[in-house]
């Protein structure tokens, strides 16, 4: 593990993330992968809120607070400025949550990819608007309870599937797109380094469990993230110039109920509903060749 991981911590302790925060771990690991020569544009969202209580910040790298919708646009501007100044060796990184990526910032991201800016976009996906109180985003998975997809006689949590942002960005023709998980840090770091070594727009989508939002105890954060991968509910892959490569293939997939049953947001699901989710996961795994 040591060759992949540097000791230096570019995200400082004493930030105000909830205990067991997956998104914060994703950022810590991403900075380990990328090192100091970055400029970060960070959209409104959990990571921004927890990292920078002005006049102090946990970021030990240049960091710009962007609005909710425009991390990719700010990154585009910084990248164009660096290019026009002839400055090389600095990678521009946009960071946003699933709300700032799949919903509010999708258009800015789409435009930046189309224009071909040389930057990395990182989405830390905790599958809802967490710091405002667990409202559903388009990245919330099917069946999940949130405060805006309540559970009762009529509604059973979110009735729509998760928006597949990595596939959407791959459809833009970005040269490198990958999914990652905080439970697989070496895989995550390798993918970020590949993104950094790629010229042009690259996209890394990191699955980040959220103990208060997903309703599980904080010590189980990595276990939940790992079970998402082992069950096939979250598939780790990369798409390099249009070619798909699954990077972690679980030897024998665990039932998706093992993943769902750890989380209070899914506790209302009936056996029939879980079977339906299992069917969808099986189909997707077959489609991506996970087995």
């Amino acid at each position: 593990m040591r060759e992949e991981l540097v000791e230096e911590e570019l995200f400082a302790p004493g930030h105000r993330a909830c205990a067991g925060c997956g998104a914060t771990l994703a950022v810590r690991l991403a900075l380990k992968a990328l090192g100091k020569n970055v400029i970060v544009a960070n959209a409104t969202g959990c990571v921004e809120v927890i990292s920078t209580p002005y006049p102090e910040t946990a970021w030990r790298v240049p960091w710009i607070h962007a609005a909710f919708e425009n991390a990719a646009a700010v990154a585009s501007g910084v990248e164009a400025a660096l290019k026009s100044l002839g400055r090389r060796g600095v990678k521009v990184v946009a960071i946003a949550g699933d709300g700032g990526t799949a919903d509010i910032g999708l258009q800015a991201l789409s435009g930046a990819v189309e224009r071909g800016h040389d930057f990395i976009y990182i989405c830390y996906d905790n599958e809802a608007y967490m710091n405002t109180g667990i409202q559903r985003s388009s990245a919330t998975p099917f069946g999940a309870w949130t405060t805006t997809t309540p559970v009762g006689r009529v509604k059973r949590g979110k009735d729509r599937p998760k928006k597949d942002v990595p596939a959407i960005i791959a459809a833009h023709g970005a040269p490198y797109v990958a999914t990652a998980s905080v439970a697989y840090p070496i895989d995550l770091i390798k993918k970020l380094r590949k993104a950094a070594a790629t010229e042009g727009p690259t996209y890394i989508h990191i699955h980040c469990p959220c103990p208060p939002g997903w309703r599980f105890d904080s010590d189980k954060m990595i276990e939940v993230a790992r079970l998402a991968v082992l069950s096939g509910a979250w598939i780790l892959y990369e798409i390099k110039n249009g070619r798909l490569n699954v990077t972690i293939k679980p030897p024998k997939r665990r039932p998706v109920s093992d993943y769902l049953k750890m989380q209070g947001r899914f506790k209302h699901l009936t056996d029939a509903e879980i079977a339906e989710i299992q069917r969808t996961v099986d189909e997707r795994c077959r489609h991506l060749g996970v087995g």
């Binding site: 593990m1 209580p53 006049p55």
Partner: protein
């Protein structure tokens, strides 16, 4: 007539340890390491969202100013060398 010289305070935030104070005050339990059981695998270190574990030759050292007591280190330790204890 004076021209405006920009805001009276810096617009940039300072990188700081403890930007939100001594966050270990949030916790209700704390990790205790049994170095005899530790295999130096570094799992506790790599998975800590609070950047509150540093790693020495002897094993993990918990930063008790900022560890929020989430318990991930204890849960993930393959050697069961970390236990969560009441404060």
């Amino acid at each position: 007539m004076k021209s405006w010289r920009g805001p009276p305070v810096p617009v940039a935030a300072r990188p700081s340890v403890g930007s939100s104070g001594r966050t270990s005050s949030w916790r209700i339990q704390k990790p205790v390491v049994n170095l005899k059981r530790c295999t130096r695998c570094r799992m506790c270190w790599i998975f800590c969202p609070d950047v509150a574990i540093s790693f020495t030759k002897r094993g993990p050292a918990i930063n008790h100013d900022y560890c929020k007591g989430c318990g991930i280190c204890a849960n993930e330790c393959p050697a069961k060398a970390i236990t969560m204890e009441a404060l």
